[in-house]
Amino acid sequence: MKLINILDGLGAYLEMIFRMFVKPQKYSMFFREVFRQMYDIGIGSFGIISIVSLFIGAVTSVQFGNKLMNLGIIPMWWMGGMVRDTVILEMAPTITGLLLAGKVGSNIASEIGTMRISEQIDAMEIMGVNTYSFLIAPKVLGAVLIVPALTTLGMFIGIIGGMISGVLGGYFGQDEYIYGLQDDFNGRYMLIMFIKSFVFPFLISSIASFKGYYVKGGALELGKSSTDAVVLSSIAIVFFNFFIAYFLL
């Protein structure tokens, strides 16, 4: 019974994805929505991602630093590369993804859900607007376009955070760290980061849109659908994160 419900939901979700990718009815209106979405996500999440990345980078560095210092057999300039790879592979894309699942996921679900329960979506449908392509597609496209930039930002700030805490903690000097950053750089890791930073926002925005679009009832259900959106997209992120790592690393 439960399984059937899940499969049903998955089917409806895939149908939504399928319906969303049609030619926009009016390009100017469509791209206005895409840019609005990019702006909202970019400006809205810039601050939180910077702060969190800075401290995650910092704590990564301190923890590695502690371990290596005690071990005493590895040169401390290695730290640059270790922090770099950890940040690129996991911290920047996954932390950004999870943060955005909370912030953007709940925003999108409640925005679309409000439009659903106040009949605004019906009103658009009656006007002849294809609401899948006008309401949902720009959110997904906007998220997929802006999040790689946010992730890249998070990556730089994380690496800088690692340097600041490492230098202040006396684990290495700035020059050593920068030397380590350049050592043995694996371009494949960057590729994996970018794959994640496309896949995660796609999951977040489409799952949140789905939860909002199909909400029924009133304010209570709206709140629940927005929470569901956050929980489901977070689970989807860690799930896909694992598989991307498993198959691509």
Partner: protein, 255 residues
């Protein structure tokens, strides 16, 4: 003209619409009245294709919306305006942007032409000088006016109004009703109004259809309502003892 033939709709075991046949005339206000839960909103949703009926045909000047796919429906809907029970104004847009939205979406008018058309429609519903306000900043009556202006901005052939009076005081309700009626005549629209609120909406009904327990129970005009012997209709239109007495007095008075 819209012809409805044998529309049926069930939700699980509950038969909400049990085969409704009715015709809505062009250039007229066609009313659908009935108690809460009678199936009015479901019927209206079938008419505009938001709900797929189980059986029957709905012919918009001989085009059956029941058989249409999503794209065909979208095309037909450019000819449809609708006034929603909860107004359904876009709350992230100003009044002007709300009314302009269908023009932005479906026409290639210049900014100037759009502005002219929007102002014309807002003027038609007697709502000027509120262009830059947001829906949350205006009264219920004004929201209805905006919704009506938005519904007519693309010059619809068909206009649907679900409970146009809900949430309005009686005087404002009558103003909105009269607007709907004037616009219907002026632009020769096929208008369908759904309401449970007899007292106000009856004013504007050229044709009145009474839905009772999912069936079309009675049809006629407002003069015939006074004479009707139909118990269910009588109980609906004259629910209180006091109203029943008024009806008796009226009848005797007219001999």
């Amino acid at each position: 003209m819209i012809e409805v033939i044998g529309i049926e709709k069930s939700f699980q075991a509950q038969r909400v619409l049990k085969g409704i046949d009715v015709t809505f005339e062009k250039g007229q206000c066609n009313l659908i009245i009935g108690k809460s839960g009678a199936g009015k909103t479901v019927f209206m949703s079938c008419l505009v294709g938001l709900i797929q009926p189980d059986n029957g045909q709905i012919l918009f000047d001989n085009r059956d919306i029941v058989k249409m796919n999503h794209t065909e429906k979208s095309d037909l809907r450019r000819e449809v305006g609708m006034l929603f029970q909860k107004n359904a104004l876009f709350d992230s847009m100003t009044i002007e942007e709300n009314v302009r939205f269908p023009l932005d979406m479906f026409t290639n008018m210049s900014a100037f032409e759009k502005k002219e058309r929007v102002d014309f429609c807002l003027q038609r519903v007697s709502l000027m000088g509120a262009n830059d306000k947001y829906p949350s900043e205006i009264s219920g009556g004004m929201m209805k006016r905006v919704a009506l202006a938005r519904a007519i901005v693309l010059n619809p052939k068909y206009l649907f109004c679900d409970e146009p009076n809900s949430g309005l005081d009686p005087q404002t309700a009558i103003v909105i009703d009269n607007l709907i009626k004037e616009i219907t005549y002026e632009f020769n629209i096929t208008t369908v109004v759904v309401s449970h609120d007899m007292n106000s909406v009856i004013e504007i009904g050229d044709y009145i259809n009474f839905i009772y327990q999912g069936e079309l129970w009675w049809k006629g005009d407002k003069k015939e309502i006074l004479k009707t012997q139909n118990d269910e209709l009588n109980n609906f239109v004259f629910p209180s003892e006091f109203m029943k007495e008024i009806k008796e007095v009226l009848r005797e008075g007219r001999g």
